[in-house]
């Protein structure tokens, strides 16, 4: 384990230096000390995954050492693995005297990639408690902590969504540190750049692992951890982790496929394919809760359907398929969002295939952005025409 340090250079971007002095765990412990020294209010966001488990444990250990109390915040999306719920309960019960439980079970909208008819799930929808995946926790926060007037919504077309909850929730605090278990090392260079690009100034120090949001700070103390650092920490500390990882391990999932997240959004719906095997009861409840689950379970990995890699044989082109999907879109309220967006795009097969994917996954929020450029195939075909 090597820690990456930042220092000043002639360039506007920070440079990374490799230091043999510290490993990432020691560096994170130092960061925790710094956070506890600098902030009165500390809230750790947890998701039930391996990263947030490590971060929560590190923060709680420091809190226990200082006899302080920190918030553990879980935004419950309702449609999650049962193992995730168990993991959250485990984390919240780990150091009870040092934890303020902030388990949010409030009504908000979640994109449902599994059905175009039921394009959104309203989590914890009032009046539908019989359909909920599970009953609410008695100690959970069940009502919005902010007033209707002060509430902000990023995208009116979507309504009050996941990130709106986070934003409004964070705005309830002043000068707080929100710790997020985001890791940027070894996974995505873009994420790394995004994290370290704009350092924030805290207690006379430039902090490269955080961002400032209004009156609060979002901090990423394990940003330079690699996934094996996370697992080593879990092992060394004897921490419990979500059973989903074990199931995925046994199924031979590759490293980048092993994720524990929401079950229905456009980047995670494939997890439903193996859900009956992993958690049959969760799958059963999910089928009753939302439309489209059984179809995704069978076809989630098919190249012709959701992956949109093969054109269905009744269509001559992706453009024709896209037009068909728009014409027959069941959600007439939202179809104009797609139409307006696609009017700004180039018309070629390369772009149209991506548009089909968005339509099939009901991605009206544009979470799977389209690479709007000329079809690279056309240049290649022209080249072959000239040389052959």
């Amino acid at each position: 384990m090597i820690v990456i340090k930042h220092g000043e250079s002639d360039w506007s971007m920070p440079i990374q230096r490799y230091s043999r002095r510290l490993n990432v765990l020691e560096a994170t412990r130092e960061r925790m000390v710094f956070i506890f020294d600098s902030f009165e209010q500390i809230i750790v966001s947890i998701s039930g995954g391996k990263d947030s488990t490590c971060m929560a444990h590190l923060a709680l250990s420091e809190a226990q050492r200082r006899g302080r109390k920190i918030g553990l915040h879980f935004l419950d999306e309702e449609v999650v693995y049962e193992s995730t719920v168990e993991q959250i309960e485990y984390l919240m019960g780990l150091f009870p005297e040092n934890v303020a439980k902030i388990w949010l079970q409030i009504e908000f909208r979640l994109t449902n990639a599994t059905s175009v008819e039921d394009g959104q799930l309203i989590c914890w929808e009032a009046g539908k408690h019989k359909l909920w995946m599970r009953p609410k926790k008695p100690y959970a926060i069940q009502h919005r902590m902010w007033s209707e007037e002060s509430q902000t919504v990023r995208n009116k077309n979507k309504g009050f969504g996941f990130y709106d909850v986070i934003e409004n929730f964070e705005r309830c605090y002043n000068g707080a540190a929100f710790l997020v278990g985001l890791r940027a090392a070894g996974e995505s260079p873009n994420r790394w750049r995004a994290v370290v690009k704009n350092p924030v100034h805290i207690a006379d120090r430039d902090v490269y692992w955080g961002t400032k949001k209004d009156k609060n700070y979002s901090l990423y103390p394990i940003y330079d951890w690699n996934f094996h650092d996370v697992w080593k920490y879990v092992y060394d500390e004897g921490l419990r982790y979500s059973k989903v990882y074990d199931w995925q391990f046994r199924k031979g999932y590759s490293i980048n496929q092993m994720r524990v997240s929401s079950l229905i959004h456009e980047r995670a719906f494939k997890s439903i394919c193996d859900l009956p095997e992993f958690e049959p009861k969760t799958y059963n409840r999910l089928c009753k809760r939302i439309k489209g689950i059984a179809l995704v379970q069978e076809t989630g990995k098919s190249a012709k359907l959701f992956a949109c890699r093969k054109l269905p044989k009744n269509y001559r082109s992706w453009i024709a398929f896209r037009d068909f999907l728009i014409q027959t879109h069941p959600d007439q309220e939202r179809v104009h969002l797609f139409v307006e967006r696609y009017q700004r795009h180039l018309t070629n097969e390369y772009v149209a295939r991506q548009q089909c994917r968005q339509l099939l996954l009901n991605d009206y929020e544009n979470n799977l952005p389209i690479d709007n450029k000329p079809d690279p195939r056309e240049a290649l075909i022209q080249y072959y025409d000239e040389v052959l």
Partner: protein
């Protein structure tokens, strides 16, 4: 250490000596199954197939088991040009666990000298993973090179006017009807036309290698079939360089006669490989200035 162009026997000798000198208890060989050498060593040997490298059931066990008493052999693992490929990342993690390592590769590149940096990363713990190839960096790693000097010989095959006409017609048809098909199918399919002409010139006493044995000839082998050393006349070249490199690594053939008809597609493939051969020579020159 990076060792280029060694035979299986040479690799085995090198590994055996190293194991003895460094009290190695176990050897892990990471290798595509086609190139898996069966080493006879004084210690335990475990082979991990290319496709298995990324699997968790191997990844974590190996991270746990690889230590300074184990030797890690990365054998013929230069298969993809993406330096950040997941399999390469996993290999790099394994290499971080031990100082005992060998990187064996037949040729230093797939297509360009930058491919060599994948091997370089293996040997240098990825310290220069963001840098492109630069001769000055080579002093950071130990390289042993057994140069592979590829030479090409053109075996000309004449076609007639009717074939040229068919070729032109087929080319137009392929381009006009390409629709959503992969554009690389154009040269691949045009190559089939020249194959029909070239098959008439096949000599019974020679061994040939082609993409497939669609003519059902006894002396024609496919690139995938070849499993040992031998001398072959190339009936048609592979579209992807990696397939041809695999053929060279297995057959150890360096003088390569290629059947080339007077159709444009044949000349295009032949020129493409000549240029590749030139890049290979340049790569050796860059590695051994």
């Amino acid at each position: 250490m990076i060792a280029l162009g060694l035979t299986a026997v040479e690799k085995e000798v090198m590994i055996a000596e190293y194991c003895q000198e460094h009290s190695i208890r176990k050897v892990f060989v990471l290798s595509p199954i086609r190139f898996r050498p069966l080493f006879e060593l004084p210690c335990e040997v475990e082979y991990i197939e290319w496709a298995e490298i990324i699997m968790y059931k191997f990844f974590y066990r190996l991270l746990q088991e690889i230590n300074n008493y184990t030797l890690l052999v990365i054998n013929e693992c230069l298969r993809i040009q993406d330096r950040n490929d997941l399999t390469y990342n996993c290999i790099r993690h394994f290499l971080n666990q031990t100082k005992n390592q060998f990187v064996f590769q037949y040729l230093p590149i797939i297509d360009s000298i930058d491919d060599f940096m994948i091997l370089f990363d293996f040997d240098t713990r990825s310290k220069w993973k963001r840098d492109a190839f630069c001769g000055a960096l080579l002093r950071e790693c130990e390289i042993e090179i057994k140069r592979v000097n590829v030479s090409w010989r053109e075996v000309r095959v004449e076609t007639n006017a009717a074939t040229t006409k068919t070729y032109a017609r087929e080319k137009r048809r392929l381009i006009d009807d390409i629709r959503l098909r992969d554009p690389h199918t154009i040269p691949r399919n045009l190559y089939l036309i020249s194959g029909k002409e070239k098959v008439k010139s096949i000599e019974i006493e020679s061994q040939y290698v082609g993409r497939n044995n669609r003519f059902g000839l006894d002396n024609m082998r496919t690139y995938r079939d070849i499993s040992g050393t031998g001398q072959y006349v190339v009936f048609e070249l592979c579209h992807n360089f990696i397939d041809f490199i695999d053929f060279m690594s297995v057959s150890r053939q360096v003088e390569i006669p290629v059947m080339v008809s007077d159709l444009k597609v044949d000349q295009w493939y032949y020129d493409r490989y000549q240029a590749w051969g030139k890049r290979l020579v340049d790569a050796y020159s860059a590695l051994q200035p």
